[in-house]
Symmetry: C2
Subunit: 433 residues, 2 copies
């Protein structure tokens, strides 16, 4: 039986036209984050299972993690997120690394999910993190960077950045709602899932967490608080941090889209301070696109070192959907400068020699590797978006000539073979080194 | 207990200094192959197990493949090589794709191996393939491209390219040695492993395959044949193809390093014609670095389509070892144009404003995010290879001045804050957009 040509469920094949988009997006991202002094890193696709069991959150490990036992009886997992790998690597060289550590990576990650819009089993995710430095300045930088990455695509007026602080949430859950640790965790998970599961299921989860209707409405009122109310009503570190963060950022470009939204939780268990989510403001896509936050205890999992950090992750599927829906994706095509159309064996051999010379000058060229009819070869040249076809027929070989066809304008000229470079220089001035 | 900071056995962490090397190598490769008109593609990390069971060869599937059963009872494998994914993708769009299909990818691949020099469990591998076009011209192009990729690093006089043809081997095994299919397969595996396992084990494998000493010495003589002998002694398609291939390539730069070596087999089962291996000529590293060949039946696994191809794969570990041992790897470091050294909160806020403006002009800059002692902040600037430190102290803030320190020359100057851009333009002319 024939094998299927379909990729594994929930994954994508990247044909060249998709690769051009992916590469363009990643290069654009890299340009922005490197402008902020972030350095690239990467780690292995497989990690010890324990790395995720420690901090990634129950849902990921129990329901979404790809893991198996290798031939040496090691329990290994395919990375579902990059932060644990980053923390492991930073912990491994924590003394030598210059601080603040500013790192980025665009790894592919795997989660066993039911495939749906914006959610696939394999996706790529920009991860940026800064470790060390004053916490508040670092938080401010990460928020600015999230804004700058979107601005790099021209999307800065299409987003809203909602921030909150885990310490504020903890304070409210403990001191205002009087929830114990277990109830607080369950309530935070319910709030985090609210948009996804709908109001009815949300209220059911709150009831299961043990919240009565008074507590539920007190929490609902808290969610409606603005910065001023939060600062006056809740005397806690979380409120003070939020206030200072807004103050530091008040003259920055981000300030027009930055908003305190006290219901923002972030699903991952390791966040300890500032948390934020970036939303597409268009009404047909009002889910959070990406987000991040501060984690103060991650490096400590690997030993006695202490180094706190803050970062975010942004997925490629979400980003591409965002760019497409706002018409921010340019048309990207392959481009080939010259395609050689050849009549026979000697013509192919000559085309290869000419191609070798042109490539040294920076010209992208390919020959058809065939002696099929010229029309058929020219069709291939057009499919490959070649700019110029160089035709080597029998009479051209005999007379040491070439026929040049401008595939955009359709014009055709005959030239001496040894004039090829000078003619191309006038036809393709931008393509030469 | 603290988690380990070590990566999973046989894998590598890429800290920024390693990423700079990796990116430099891959960009260099991409430039060469795109100059030949090759287009990028990629596929998922996980593929159906059956994709490899079909053609990858028994050793890979039984001993080296990472595979497991997913939560939906699908048998999936982590890709150990890229060719099956490429064949699946080409087969999926075989009618629409412009021919010849020229594709490349640099995926990470996994094999369960005992880690050793040049062999790791996770490595990256350049894969290039051309499908369609006249077989012989395509074979010639792939050989030239293998040569050009190494020449792109300046290593073209450090290699030898050994070629052979599976049809010639089949002819010799069948008609000269009178081996049946099973014995021929076993003998080819023994020859393929010869360098690795040593002479004694090799002869033992040949005996197990059923070869007597006459056959063994006949084969040994065949291995010593040159092109002329092969063409005169063996009237078969394989010999004719080799002869024509050498003829087509005789005036190309590759001809000085290209050699027929009839003992070249290539391990993978799907090769059907030209096969080749690229060797480092330095005596301390005489193993094959990489290789490839022609496969005529791969696309047919996915249906009735026929499209033959030829390609090669080159691993990043082998390449890096080669470049390092021949001193072809430049010193690659992070580079930061400007690092802001800040005395207090207001200085940090000012540094962030100045940084925002500079980034728009293409300057890579970062602030220390700290108000630690200047000496300590300057040390970080040096560790990050920053070119210039912009110091914002209390007196600078008061006088609307900045202190610029050239970290290469050590010179220091005071300037007005609003003169920063013009001063940097004269100090870092190449860094601006």
């Amino acid at each position: 039986m024939a094998l299927s040509t379909k990729p594994y469920k929930g994954t994508r094949d990247f044909y060249p036209e998709d690769m051009y988009v992916q590469k363009w997006m990643f290069e654009n991202i890299a340009k922005t984050v490197e402008g902020f002094g972030y350095q690239p890193y990467d780690g292995p696709m497989l990690e010890p299972f324990e790395l995720y069991a420690a901090k990634s959150g129950q849902e990921i490990v129990e329901k979404q993690l790809y893991w198996f036992t290798d031939r040496g009886e090691r329990k290994v997992a395919i990375r579902p997120e990059m932060t644990p790998t980053m923390a492991r690597m930073v912990a491994g060289k924590v003394m030598e690394l210059p601080k603040p550590v500013r790192w980025y990576s665009i790894p592919n990650l795997w989660r066993y999910e039911r495939p749906q819009r914006g959610r696939l089993r394999e996706h790529w995710q920009l991860n940026v993190d800064v470790l060390g430095g004053d916490n508040l300045f670092a938080d401010a930088e990460i928020l600015k960077l999230a804004h700058a990455v979107i601005a790099g695509f021209g999307g800065e007026d299409k987003i809203r950045i909602a921030i909150n602080n885990r310490k504020l949430i903890n304070h409210v859950f403990k001191n205002l709602l009087k929830l114990d640790a277990d109830a607080a965790l369950k309530a935070s998970k319910a709030v985090d899932a609210r948009d996804k599961i709908g109001e009815e299921a949300y209220l059911k989860l709150l009831a299961e967490a043990g919240l009565n209707s008074d507590q539920t409405s007190t929490m609902e009122n808290f969610f409606k608080s603005d910065l001023e109310t939060v600062c006056s009503d809740f005397d806690c570190e979380g409120a003070r941090e939020l206030n200072e963060l807004f103050s530091v950022l008040k003259d920055d470009a981000i300030s027009s889209v930055l908003k305190l939204e006290p219901q923002i939780m972030r699903g991952l268990d390791y966040y300890t301070g500032t948390v934020f989510e970036v939303y597409d403001v268009s009404p047909e896509n009002n889910r959070a696109m990406f987000g991040g936050g501060r984690y103060d205890n991650l490096i400590g999992l690997f030993g006695n070192q202490q180094l706190s950090g803050v970062g975010f992750g942004m997925g490629d599927v979400t980003l591409r959907n965002f760019l497409e829906s706002h018409n921010l994706l340019p048309e990207l095509k392959s481009h080939l400068d010259v395609f050689f159309v050849t009549a026979n064996r000697d013509a192919v051999i000559q085309s290869e020699k000419l191609a070798s010379d042109l490539r040294k000058l920076g010209i992208k060229c390919a020959s058809s590797l065939s002696t099929a009819k010229f029309n058929q070869q020219l069709k291939q040249a057009n499919k490959l978006n070649a700019k110029i076809a160089v035709i080597i027929g029998e009479s051209e070989l005999e007379n040491q000539q070439l026929t040049l066809k401008d595939l955009v304008k359709g014009e055709q000229t005959s030239i001496a073979t040894n004039q090829l470079t000078s003619h191309l220089k006038s036809m393709l001035p931008g393509s030469f080194n």
